[in-house]
């Protein structure tokens, strides 16, 4: 049911390699579109900022058009514009923020520069309705691995822990390269792991039981590299499926254990998992198992909403508008390391 009394928010996301635009009213997603430059980055084994920025410029206006069409609304129907102000790649963020300012000025509507990470949590409201307060959120993607305590999406989000080195998705990409699997590494490792024995090789669990909610994945990656190198030197065949399964088990074991521990420590009964790695089948399965055992309700948006998109930014925009927060100024700056404690940039 469409609540036409709620403002229509257009969200624009360009923090990495996806140009995303979404149209949202309250907790309802009306339509969205995403243009990805991932194929252009594949041969480099990671996102090349300049390639991503060029692609954003090409895709920006066409993506806005397709999103408006998908939502069945006109640009003149839009009541406010929300845009990712950070964190993200400097040149990429700047394309989205420039476009958002132009649309806001031309349409005569307010502009809200919002936090990409909080957007990943807010997007769950489009799938499962209003988020209970408080909630814990685990954000896992190629660029981020964070545990958040979300008291209020618009005004009170606190960081509980972060990766101290590689993001989980980054570790997947690097291990995929070691195993001659394609980029991005998440899906091929997930597939290979299904054929392997997760207990055949026990890889280390970074920052396991260290009493923090921080993560570390670079040691794990090095352990895999060492294993692969030794097998190669000994002339042995590389057991790709077992390595993938053992690596994946190490990653999701730490992620889910720390997420559940964070819920327990803060007396929180709702856990949201979002970000590109939330599409991982083993992460979903183990999180469900451990949340059920701990009496925690698990919320994971569908994979299309977990990866970067404009709907998540519109969803957070709807929250800050509903909270009555003041719009960002026209000289809004991008912030490549915008802290998660700042859902709305001034």
């Amino acid at each position: 049911m469409s609540r036409t009394d709620l403002p229509l928010i257009m969200g624009i996301e360009t923090s990495c390699d996806e140009t995303g635009v979404g149209l949202v009213r309250g907790c309802e997603l009306l339509g969205e579109d995403v243009a990805s430059s991932v194929a252009e980055h594949a041969r480099f084994g990671g996102v090349v900022p300049e390639v991503a920025s060029r692609a954003h410029l090409e895709a920006m206006v066409p993506t806005v058009r397709r999103a408006l069409d998908a939502a069945g609304v006109k640009a003149s129907d839009v009541d406010a514009i929300a845009v990712t102000a950070g964190p993200g790649l400097a040149g990429a963020l700047l394309v989205g923020v420039s476009a958002a300012k132009a649309y806001a000025m031309a349409l005569g509507v307010p502009l809200y520069g919002v936090n990409h990470l909080v957007g990943h949590v807010a997007v769950d409201q489009l799938e499962h309705g209003p988020l209970p307060k408080p909630a814990v959120a685990l954000l896992v993607s190629g660029g981020h691995t964070s545990l958040l305590l979300v008291n209020d999406l618009a005004t009170d989000v606190r960081s509980l822990g972060d990766t101290v080195d590689d993001a989980a998705g980054e570790a997947y990409d690097k291990v995929a390269r070691l195993l001659d699997l394609p980029y991005p590494g998440g899906p091929p490792i997930d597939r290979a792991a299904r054929e392997g024995d997760p207990k055949a090789i026990r890889f280390p669990r970074g920052k396991w039981g260290d009493g923090t909610f921080d993560f570390s994945f670079s040691g794990l990656k090095t352990a895999v590299a060492r294993w692969v190198e030794n097998a190669g030197r000994a002339g042995e065949a590389i057991p790709v499926a077992d390595i993938a399964a053992g690596f994946q088990e190490s990653v999701v074991d730490v992620l889910t254990r720390k997420a559940v521990d964070a819920c327990r420590e803060h007396g929180v009964e709702h856990l949201v998992i979002s970000g590109g790695v939330a599409a991982n089948s083993r992460l979903r399965a183990l999180a469900e198992e451990r949340c059920a055992a701990a009496g925690i309700t698990l919320r994971v948006p569908r994979p299309k909403l977990c990866t970067d998109n404009g709907a998540m930014i519109a969803a957070l925009g709807a929250e800050v508008v509903a909270a009555g927060l003041p719009p960002s100024r026209l000289d809004l700056a991008t912030d490549t390391s915008l802290p998660v404690s700042v859902p709305l940039a001034p």
């Binding site: 640009a75 394309v95 923020v97 300012k101």
Partner: protein
Amino acid sequence: MLLLAFDTATPAVTAAVCTAPDAGAPDSVAVAASTASVDARRHGELLAPGIADVVERAGAALSDLTHIAVGIGPGPYTGLRVGLTTGLSLADALGIECVGVATLDALAFASGRTGPFIAATDARRKEVFWARYADARTRVGDIAVDRPAELDTGGLPVIGHGAALYGEVLGADEESAAPLHPTAAALGELAARRLLAGEELPAPRPMYLRRPDAVEPGAPKKVRQWKA
């Protein structure tokens, strides 16, 4: 005609509004308002307020605009894209045409020179973007990117920030290199004159002149082995 012009392909962030009677002569173009600030690191912050400022001082609203003209570079890419994204998005939202103007052409036009010269801007990495002009309105040949020492000036005066930066090599100083940066007033006037004369202008697409300098990865580097 009510034309909004801006350029972000140099350290200058500049915007202007130009007016002309509909179907007027090219000489009827006037600059109603203009602004410029030089800050190579704040294009994204300065452009939108600059546009709001010149439109207001021109006594107009964005919805009154009939055309947008934007500098298409070449210039440092991050800044360049601020102007192009803004131009394309504004034109889409307002339902009006957006045309491109080479940033060096706007710089050349701003010089008002009547004889031949070279215009050069900073391309970073010890290079300049440059082109040859017969006079302020007439470019001769294509725009190129080169090291200053590789540039055959043929004894012509060299203007622009690129000339001032490499004054010893290019035989210029701050004074002889003026104007250092393009102005949106010049860019807008040039675009409006060409539109009124029925000339075709470039599409609002960036002139990069270089590929992204990414390299494909080689074999994974060796990890240190533990000694048993």
